[in-house]
Amino acid sequence: MLSYRSLVAAGLLLIAAVPPLAWWWEASLVRHMLMQIPMLVLAGFLLGTLVAPSPDLGVREERAGGIAAVLLATFCVTFWMIPRWLDAAVASHRVDAIKIMTLVLLAGLPLAWGWPRLGPVARGFVWVQAISMAIVLGLLYLTFPNRLCNSYLVNEQAILGIAMLGIAGFLGLAGAVPVLFGANNGSPAPRHPGARVDP
């Protein structure tokens, strides 16, 4: 049966990963980093939501497994953020195929499995790390005087840097607004103060 999500995932894969179009995304640094890669991860994520069983949060093992899965996705995305590998994906079709496969299977898919299994503290941790990584990359691309990628021009690098800082700002606001101004009414005080909980 074809669900709405699987159609979207297939569509994303078609747009992002199939050659003539894939090369078009890769021809520009901004399109490559901020459009193609997110689309691939999102496609994997959508596919993942189709196959991942719903979490049983009572089980501690599930939580640790969730952390492992999100960590895997983080490593995978980080790897492809290294300018050298971005370049390599442009220069070699084989590397590019590996990039596409790993981003779908080792980043998107595990994210779909892991994210629902994370507790609020772990989610906050991932969120905060994502903000500082976006700032790090943004400042790097914005201020680096030379070319980081052989396949791309310096002015694109600066655009990417600004976009990255924008993403950091967006992630910050998107996290801060509900946290500061969220409209839930809270719950009564704990009956036994000083007691432990598992977040």
Partner: protein, 485 residues
Amino acid sequence: MVAENPRVFTIDEAGRRIVAANLVVAGAVLLAMMLLGLTMRLGQSGWLEVPPARFYQIMTVHGTGMIGIAALGGITVMWYFLSQYVRLSTHILTANLLLFLIGVVIILTADFIGGFAAGWTILFPLPTHGAVWPAEAAFWHLLGLMLVGAGLLLVALDFGRALIARYGSLGRSHGWPQLFGLSNDPLPPPTVIAGTMVTIVTTLTVIGGASIMVPMMINALNPAFTINPLLAKNVIYFFGHSLANVTIYMAVVVIYELLPLFAGRPYKASRIFVAGWTGSTIMVLIIFPHHLFMDFAMPQWASGMAQVLSFTNSFPAMLVTGFGALALVHRSGIQWSLVSGLLFLSLFGWLAGIVPAVIDATIVVNSVMHNTLWVPGHFHFYMLLGVIPMILAFMLYLTRDRLGRSPEKDSDMWALIVYLGAGLGFVLVFLYSGRHSVPRRWAVHWPEWMVYDRFASVFAALVILAAAFFIVRFLIGLRHFLSGR
């Protein structure tokens, strides 16, 4: 609703154990770092042979370690009292301690064996281009700092989770609906308001710290990967000032919670109180993006203002705390004890420490005195006489003075007087030397400065004796606390 200030604090066994472990580590590291501080002063006074390279390693370990235990002790104080209002996790507090310890081991190795000595402020490009130490040492020192920061972040996120679960949002636990007249509900307790501020500021601090330390770590391994030094300086200032300030925001709740026990009245939050803390929160929120996304074409005055703001963001919170505490004890027939004495000492340290800070932050003076001993004078004032007494008061309260009624011995009062007198003497020597333009961070001093250094050494030794006395008292009483009497 629980009472404004519970008279009896409860904590389960797992919580007791991890709180005790945190405090034991904090107390031990505090003494060790104080001894390192004394070593520096002895070296400058010519009483002890400290080679320059060693001096800077010691200074780096001392500064980093002190800020580290101020944060560890402070977050433990905050955790203990906040857990009376919201449900916190002992696992997370344990994870923090583990990360702290691993970080400390890495930092000690990087500094004393690796030779890293760029100071606690890690001002770029010195750490990675110091040439005196291998770049790997800088890498490991920074990694150690990152681990300590990750631990603090976890606890802050747990605070945030618990506050949101209980109050609905951080805005509400900060008392904003009441502040802006949108709600007539009773205000959250002072500890909850301060806890909210700590959650926000710690998170921002760690984001700032990671944003500059990750590039510096890469730069250490690969010099071709450059960093804009002006930008680095801004972010490091933000990180350093915020981290140093947040330790006092954490520890200060000991005053809100314990002073009422001695005064017999509750410490109630008021709208002014909320406004004061909100003022501090907002100042941090403003300087955060300012330092981080620093505009390169920024006019000079804007950069100067951010600098001053990051010095002064604690003032609103400090003023409302000071006035609140004075109102609380005014004609209350307060009971004097070691703990209440330490609480007052800490209030004095925080309030009086403002004077040198304001003078330093005034830009004109800043350019004259900023690289003198005036600067360590100002931050030792509120650290040694503000944050540390708060943490000591908490330790002693837990282990021997829980109801504020245990009989005081003469020795207790003497220790208190020595700590105050010698502590004050120690920071005043820093300030006085600063007035006379003695530079900071000099391993070897000219003979005419050595008089100051010798006075400072004597004062430092006395402070250490008093602190050791308190910590031994704490250790002796630990069994009682752990047994949960």
